[in-house]
Amino acid sequence: MKSLARRRAVNWLMTGLCALALSAALVPLVSLLWLVISRGFAGLSWSFFTAIPAPVGETGGGVGNAIAGTLYVVGIACLIGVPIGVGAGVYLAERGDTRFGDSIRFTAEVLSGVPSIVVGIVAYGLVVLPMRRFSALAGGVALAVLMVPTLARSTEELIRLVPGSLREASLALGVPQWRTSLRIVLRTALGGIMTAILLSVARAAGETAPLLFTSLNNQFWNWRPDQPTASLTVQIFNYAVSPYPEWHDKAWSSALVLLLLVGALSLMGRWASRKKFR
């Protein structure tokens, strides 16, 4: 047996290594947050959240239309992607133990590894070319394609976590299979599925590449699905690659707004899926 002193030393060393790994993981995160806040905070004002961008050379202006556009495009993506993704996940969990199920699973895995810019090209071909214009709808389709595979896989995993005893309890009460799947199994997994939806929404809201040639950009407010739409990420990209220093400042402020938006979304999700009972 090893001596107590030696085991204490090993314990101390291992705890130290874990702490080191933790700080190594935290350094990039904290420095990123610090950079965005310190450079972006000065540019924040009420009008930055509500106004549309000012033309070059003029001061003021904001990214109100880009915030609205990001929410709009992500909203369209959710309308398309959430039913398909969650529905596919339910199917895989309940009926997926077949060769067909395996092929869907494999496809979802491949699809989740496709670079987002490629997904953008697909949406360009599917929506932009036939409609002959860039549109919010095309951006929504691109983001939905990104959401579906991860959503399907995580929904499947979450449903498989629901204990079989609950399904049996429901069936033994004379509840048909389909209603058991919907009202008991899906309902029990709903908290986790909400979290999965929000994670995919947060990820979609942060995408730039698939929006560049689908929803494009817009200097004005837009609420029509068949028109080009501004989005925070594309706006950040445009500001950041511009030659004007004051636009660089706007890029930092917009990045901060995007962080706040995603943070607010996940807080809302936590709140919505909180436990109903104590």
Partner: protein, 254 residues
């Protein structure tokens, strides 16, 4: 044993398989109305499979097959016009581990069988009578809107019994209903079984021989998928015909 009562359940030459595994071999027995049948036997002897054949839960397991006949009130469960979903409303089941629905309140758990099937009715009245029947009402009447998971294990199991009773079954199957509970909770469940016997027919699987002796009218001893002996509880425990039954009830094996 009540010889005069009408048979509620008749099982004729029942065989059951899980893929290649022959889990039940040629079992035949009869359960009279308003009686309690205890099923005893070592683990893996087919006890649970047997009760799961009585409400057609067995066929839900992938690879499961069966042959033979099960009749409830003289009606073959596997007749083409029998809907397993309707059957399970007549033949209720309580499982080994308490399994209340975690997303529902105590109230909603009791009426789950009706609510999920879209049956309307006087829910508050039904909740009270079911919980009273399950001897749980006094403990939970002030917190019906709390989560079912806020109850103790024994209370959860009685909640599951109330949930099964709320759909007003004629037969109640209990698959080791007290094996996950402490002695006090077990005593309450056993008391409950003796009361419920007035209004329905009960088949209870148990590992606990004393429990079988305390609650049942008749006892069936299963071993390796076969029904070894079936008779009145008194006879099985005091004067078994089969040596294997005697060895089991006296604790020589199993």
């Amino acid at each position: 044993m009540q010889k005069l009562a009408a048979p509620k359940i008749e099982v004729k030459a029942l065989n059951a398989w899980f893929k290649q595994n022959h889990a039940l071999r040629n079992v035949s027995l009869t359960v009279p109305e308003n009686s309690v049948l205890a099923i005893i036997g070592p683990s893996g002897c087919g006890k649970s499979t047997f009760v799961r054949c009585l409400n057609r839960m067995h066929e839900l397991v992938p690879g499961a097959r069966q042959s033979g006949k099960v009749l409830v009130d003289g009606q073959d469960l596997h007749a083409r016009r029998v809907d397993p979903v309707n059957l399970r409303r007549r033949v209720g089941m309580v499982f080994q581990r308490p399994n209340p629905f975690p997303t529902m309140s105590i109230f909603d758990n009791v009426v789950a069988g009706l609510k999920l099937n879209g049956v309307h009715g006087d829910y508050p009245q039904l909740v009270e009578s079911s919980l009273r029947q399950a001897a749980l009402w006094d403990e939970v009447k002030d917190r019906l809107r709390h989560s079912a998971l806020s109850l103790s294990g024994g209370q959860q199991q009685r909640l599951c019994i109330a949930r099964a009773l709320a759909v007003e079954p004629e037969v109640l199957l209990m698959d080791e209903p007290a094996s996950a509970l402490d002695p006090i909770a077990t005593a309450r469940i056993e008391e409950l079984i003796r009361e419920l016997r007035e209004s329905l027919t009960i088949v209870i699987v148990t590992h606990n021989m004393q429990q079988a002796a305390r609650v049942s009218d008749a006892t069936a001893f299963f071993y390796m998928g076969e029904l070894i002996e079936h008779g009145s509880t008194e006879q099985i425990f005091t004067n078994p015909r089969e040596p294997r039954t005697e060895d089991y009830v006296t604790g020589k094996f199993g």
